[in-house]
Amino acid sequence: MEVGQMQRRLIEYTKSLFMEGILDDQFLQLQQLQDESNPDFVVEVVSLFFQDAEKLLNDITRALDQQSVDFPKVDAHVHQLKGSSASVGAQRVKNGCIAFRNFCEEQNVDGSLRCLQQIKQEYYHVKNKLEALFRLEQQIVAAGGSVPMMELSF
């Protein structure tokens, strides 16, 4: 597949992610920060986000498994996750965290568990999507092309 086609495919793919609400403007902001002095900025941030998120999700799962759930702690974790996801533009994860915090305030274990499931789902979803995106980008770069910048025109 030649470069132009791949670039178009990339743009379409990215657009679809925005349309579905998986990513939001913040992701574009990240892309804007990428330049010659910082060529892998986005990949680095996203990778950090993945690590952070996985750790936090594990912590939350363990905390909810306890007999008596320490809600403030869970809340703290969720707060962190919310911050991270907001920073990379993972919109659905962030929204899930906001909902989770409500359940934490109510100290609702069942609700929290359900919410956690949902957040996990969203997280893996966005992870897959972003990984696919990065693969596309690598292919383009390998083929000698440049990664096209998204424009906020939709």
């Binding site: 403007d25 913040q26 902001q29 990240l30 804007q32 920060l33 330049d35 002095s37 910082n38 900025f41 680095e44 941030v45 950090l48 986000f49 952070d52 403030p72 809340d75 703290a76 707060h79 962190q80 911050g83 991270s84 996801s85 907001a86 920073s87 990379v88």
Partner: protein, 741 residues
């Protein structure tokens, strides 16, 4: 001849007689036998004959008589006994029958006679019916004529055609010699011959309207026979030599629209009639028949109606023509007015430029001249020149402004501005002038007066300058006080402004400014005139103060554009004056982040895009956030250090860091405490870094807390590149940044 002795036979003389008798009897018998045959024959031929059996009887009688006579033939000579018997029988029978017949005829003949009478009667009747039918046919024809006439008359709405047609058709129908119509003149005192049948252009005969014959005709709605010698009938020279034909006249009511009531037939309360005169041909011995008179009457009525319709139509046509004329005139007037306005605008536009250019030259050069070395007289002259040219420039501007205001082409430049600073500027501008006159000026701004407002700053200032300037101008001594506050609903309804119903709403507030001076005051009677253009108050004291008289007019226009009201009050001459105006201003929106108004005079500086070398410290416990913020700042060229806890922060922070970004919504770490500690760490003012709080919260409490601890700015996450850029520029310029949360 002597009689011979011979015995003369009796027979030869009697034989001759006998012969004659014999022949007569024969013929009688013949006749008697043929009469019944004829009778039978003709009766059979005729259809109706009521007395058949009488006929039989009569026939029998005749036959028997004939038989008798026939049998008589044999009795001349010697005849036998049988013959005698037959003869006797016949005679007897004949006698019987004839007697019977005679008796019968007594009954029959009266009947036959009465038949005859009836026949006569029927004949008469038939003749009468014929006559009547002739009459009816005539009437029907007349009716047809009337319908046709009416149709002809009503088929047109033109008055002349109606009348002409009437005369023509009447003349034709009734075979008239002459038919004429006399119309009343305008004065109503005379009848004028207007239309005739035979003559083309009747010469204007007139007859006075109050002739007895005319009155007679007018008083009844029937056609009246008049004498051929009366003036209305003497229209044409006598054609025949002998007897002029009979003349009939009928009135034709001239109806007005008002005569047609809704329910009734037109009331003939109208006084105006026309006279129609109809003349039968002379020497014709014709007479007016009743049906002809009726025809004439009907036609006269129809003509009346047709004429009224024509009159209505004429009236409406005239009205329409008038309207068209007026329309055309109005259109013309409008176009002229538009042309005039355009001409004036063009003139003003040209003159504006043409007048201002030399004015600027004069003012500029006079100012320059003032700067040079001048003798006192020269200086005085130059000052006078400058003052006069300034006045002239103001006048030109005022005139231009006013004309644009009048056009409605002036629009306010709405923008957000600092209300307090407008007042301060006005004060600053007016203070020198006031101090020269030894007047004290005080400004009093209410506590709840918003600092920022949305409106036309320039024109508000112009208005205030004008009002305050007037206060200064017309005061020789004393003080001037300016009070500004937010007008509440109760105070908005002012008795002096009864038409002013301001409605404060969430987005707007009403600014009320009162300027009170202790100057020469105004005569209360003059107050209404103050706001009219070019009018100056009459008192000589104010005359000399100059001014074109346009200032207040312009102020009023501006205030009106700002949906407000302006008025002046004075207790009288030399008792000072209070000028008050209320204008509607908008409240600036809170969520509008792109407008970061601080001081309006300082233009927003987007210029600084490269903050290279700016040392900043970012504290955020969330690794991802930290990385993003760092990337952001590095993209802008800053030198970024990052820490993830307060201890680390306190450890790392140094005087080299110019800005410290703190995330204040971290649970467990009190960002505010941290900020306080950081500030305390640097005693010297110039070493204190700018502290900016980053928060995901949007409430006011956070902002207040930040302000309390001395944090220099609060920003809401997420932050875009552009936002960070503008934030940094603002921060570095003003050292404080509180965006509307």
């Amino acid at each position: 001849m002597e009689s011979c002795n011979c015995i003369e036979p009796q027979w030869p003389a009697d034989e001759l007689l006998m012969k004659y008798q014999y022949i007569s009897d024969f013929f009688i018998a013949l006749a008697y036998f043929s009469i019944p045959l004829e009778l039978i024959y003709f009766v059979k031929k005729s259809a109706v004959f009521p007395y058949r059996w009488v006929l039989v009887q009569f026939g029998a009688f005749i036959v028997l008589c004939g038989a008798t006579h026939l049998i008589n033939l044999w009795t001349f000579t010697m005849h036998s006994r049988t013959v005698a018997i037959v003869m006797t029988t016949a005679k007897v029978l004949t006698a019987v029958v004839s007697c019977a017949t005679a008796l019968m005829l007594v009954h029959i003949i009266p009947d036959l006679l009465s038949v005859k009478t009836r026949e006569l009667f029927l004949k008469n009747k038939a003749a009468e019916l014929d006559r009547e039918m002739g009459l009816i046919r005539t009437q029907e024809e007349t009716g047809r004529h009337v319908r046709m006439l009416t149709h002809e008359i009503r088929s047109t709405l033109d008055r002349h055609t109606i009348l002409k047609t009437t005369l023509v058709e009447l003349g034709r129908t009734l075979a008239l010699e002459e038919c004429a119509l006399w119309m009343p003149t305008r004065t109503g005192l005379e009848l004028q011959l207007s239309y005739t049948l035979r003559q083309q252009n009747p010469v204007g005969y007139t007859v006075p309207i109050h002739l007895p014959v005319i009155n007679q005709v007018f008083s009844s709605n029937r056609a009246v026979k008049i004498s051929p010698n009366c003036p209305v009938a003497r229209i044409r020279p006598l054609a025949g030599k002998y007897i002029p034909g009979e003349v009939v006249a009928v009135r034709v009511p001239l109806l007005h629209l008002s005569n047609f009531q809704i329910n009734d037939w037109p009331e003939l309360s109208t006084k105006r009639y026309a006279l129609m005169v109809l003349m039968l041909p002379s020497d014709s011995a014709r007479q007016w028949h009743v049906h002809e008179l009726e025809l004439v009457e009907v036609v006269a009525d129809q003509v009346a109606v047709a004429l009224s319709h024509a009159a209505i139509l004429e009236e409406s046509m005239r009205a329409r023509d008038l309207l068209i004329e007026q329309n055309v005139a109005l259109d013309l007037a409008r176009r002229e007015a538009e042309t005039a306005i355009r001409a004036r605008n063009d003139f003003l536009a040209v003159m504006n430029h043409e007048m201002r250019t030399p004015m600027h030259a004069i003012i500029a050069l006079s100012s320059l001249l003032q700067e040079t070395e001048l003798t006192p007289e020269q200086r005085l002259m130059v000052e006078t020149i400058l003052k006069s040219s300034n006045l002239l420039a103001t006048l030109i501007n005022d005139v231009l402004d006013l004309s644009r205001l009048e056009d409605g082409s002036l629009q306010l430049d709405i923008g957000t501005f600092n209300l307090h600073s407008v007042f301060k500027e006005v004060l600053n501008l007016i203070k020198p002038v006031a101090s020269v006159k030894k007047l004290s000026v005080t400004l009093n701004l209410a506590q709840d007066l918003p600092v920022y407002a949305v409106g036309d700053e320039k024109r508000l200032m112009q208005t205030m300058l004008n009002v305050v300037g007037n206060a200064v101008k017309f005061s020789k001594e004393g003080s001037i006080s300016i009070i500004a506050f937010v007008a509440k609903s109760e105070s908005l309804r002012d008795s002096r402004a009864p038409d002013f119903f301001p409605m404060p709403s969430d987005n707007h507030f009403y600014l009320r400014v009162q300027v009170k001076d202790s100057g020469s005051g105004i005569n209360p009677q003059e107050i209404p005139k103050l706001f009219t253009k070019f009018s100056q108050s009459q008192s000589s004291a104010t005359r000399n103060s100059g001014g074109s008289g346009l200032g207040l007019a312009i102020c009023k226009r501006f205030v009106n554009l700002m949906e407000g009201h302006i008025w002046l009050e004075s207790d009288g001459l030399a008792k000072g004056c209070t000028a008050t105006f209320i204008v509607k201003l908008g409240i600036p929106e809170r969520s509008n982040e792109s407008k970061l108004p601080f001081t309006p005079k300082v233009p927003a500086n987007h210029g600084q895009t490269n903050f290279s070398g700016l040392k900043v410290l970012v504290m955020d416990d969330n690794g991802v956030s930290r990385m993003v913020t760092k990337g952001l700042l590095e993209h802008l060229g800053c030198d970024v250090s990052t820490v993830s806890s307060s201890e680390e922060c306190l450890h790392v922070v140094s005087h080299e860091h110019q800005v410290v970004f703190l995330d204040v919504c971290m649970p467990g770490i009190d960002g505010f405490e941290l900020a306080v500690t950081i500030r305390e760490k640097f005693a010297k003012r110039h070493e204190k870094p700018l502290i900016v709080a980053l928060t995901g919260n949007t409430d006011k409490v956070t902002k207040e807390n930040c302000m309390r601890v001395g944090i220099n700015g609060v920003i809401q996450k997420p932050i875009s590149v552009d936002k960070m850029r503008s934030i940094l520029s603002e921060l570095l310029e003003h050292r404080v940044l509180y965006e509307a949360l």
